[in-house]
Amino acid sequence: MSNTAAPVLSVQNLRVSFDTQDGTVRAVDDISFDVYAGETICIVGESGSGKSVMAGSIMRLNNSSTATTEGKILVNGIDVLTASEEEVRGIRGSEVAMIFQDPMSALNPYFTIGKQIAEAYVVHHPGASKREVHDVVLAMMIKVGIPSPEKRIDEYPHQFSGGMRQRIVIAIALVNNPKILIADEPTTALDVTVQAQILDLMMSLQKEFGMTIILITHDLGVVAEVAQDVIVMYAGHIVEQSHVDALFHSPTHPYSWGLLGSVASYGANKRGDLYTISGSPPSLISLPAGCAFHPRCVHSKGSGNACMTVQPKLRDVGTDGSRSACHLTDDVLISIGRGSDRS
């Protein structure tokens, strides 16, 4: 965060809403953050908090006929949201690449995996010879750890296991050496034993390729292991943005306290019970007034009526660079955040 270089990705006042029959769903509401070269930033939050929609808009993948997107997303100085289709296609796969949650459905079932990796390379290297493409594909398959790639290059996705398919999706994502890799819950759909392998692979490839990783996850164990910065999202808002150590040692938002308290080994009390955040996430069609989290927040009574009426802005809290969107005073946030019993 103390980086002085220009960010590789700058998201400014991003709002994404979807028109549905029941009303307008405000999936992402006024989000801003910067991402710098080579860092790993994790985005955590419950299902429906807007993580995936936000990630999709970085590559302009959201359905344009139902989604309304406002704000700016700067990649390489180009605003992805207003750029021409041609410019965006130049960014997709080449500057920014993406790994999806479910490797079982992310690959085209009708083509060999060799063709699918080649396709991703050729679209950004139109002059490449067949020989060159073949070599690049094989090299990529070796890099992501596919055994006997010469044989498997002509096989179809259904002949691969889930972990192997995710490796192929990673190969497709990295074949053009992108600056930014967005991984949308890349391990959620995998066996526990395979999850660690895939994460390790991503981290070692990050060292080799020097790319920035934006990792969307709801697994705080993964966050602790790989992240430098963490963004916590709730109901389409960023509620806290902190360095990973700061988040785990002195989180500065009541929602983060709840999240951390609900992790086994981390938040269990003396009797071994896990903390749960009471209630459920609000409907994105009719968000509560004021702070979206206030109906579930045990601290919302402490700051007068502000929680029910005024939407809190993200602001610096303390001196370790943490930012929090909460009406509680800095002192209260820091002292409760550091305490052992935050709930």
């Binding site: 590559m59 997709r92 796969g93 999806f100 459905s105 259904h158």
Partner: protein
Amino acid sequence: MFLFVVRRLFFAVVLLLAVSVFTYLLFALLPTDPAALSCGIHCKPETVLANRIRLGYDKPILEQYWHFLRGIFVGRDYGFGQTAFSCPAPSLGYSFNQHACVTALIGETFPVTAFLAIGAFVLWMIIGIGVGAIAALNKGKWQDRFATGFAAVGVSLPTFYIGLLVLFSVVIWFQILPFPSYESPLDNFSAFITAMILPWLVLAVLSAASYTRLTRNGMLEAMNEDFVRLGVAKGLRLRVILSRYVMRQALIPIVTIAGLDFAGLLGGAIITESVFSLPGMGRMSIRAVVDSDLPVLVGTTMVAAVFIVLANVIVDITYGFLDPRVRVS
């Protein structure tokens, strides 16, 4: 793959044999005497008897069936001495009403049916897939609503109604086209087109409706697939994504149904041929029913069955090519 094809073909032959047994049973089950029908109402009993022996209807039904089956492969001789005649292989029997070999009758009428089927098929695939694709790409807009409406109307309107309506309006009221009178395309191509254009359009527009629906829904479903999203994320052009990702998936059910529909048409488009008085196999079949011309009925049924069974085999094989997941190793 080879074994798969061989096995499918073997079962196709077994199926056709079964179909031939059941159709031939018509002779045994119907109360009409084929020999009596062969020479009209005022026929002398001895002529009927002579005809019965000449055509082989005096033999037990199993033996008759055996002669029928043998005839398909080696041809068949009827009668003796001066009145002897023969139907060369593949013989499907002899029509005592029309005094001709069934195979020859089918040979005359089948080209008309085939021209009708091929023309209508090409038209309906273009209209059906085209309109369906436009609807899917403009989901929720007026194009989509128009296409969905077209599909609903097309699926629910019967051919005989629309056929007659078109015939009356185009030929009789507005007199845009002369009354259709079929001619072979080799003899008079423009007359052929004039006669075929209305039946083609009627058949195509009505059948296209269900293909519009299939294409639209298939494409919309495919567009929500993760792998299509990955295709977009790769930076591929829209055209490539539509052809290699979306259409590829949407085409699979279309190919299946198109194969069977086309085969069904080759067996005779009974209503369309009747409405537009095209001398095709369908119209011949329906006339054979009215006249109790059993050999013709058995013959056309067999031909239709061959097409449908064959189309099933071809669709199965194509399916293996289209979707690697169902390929048998």
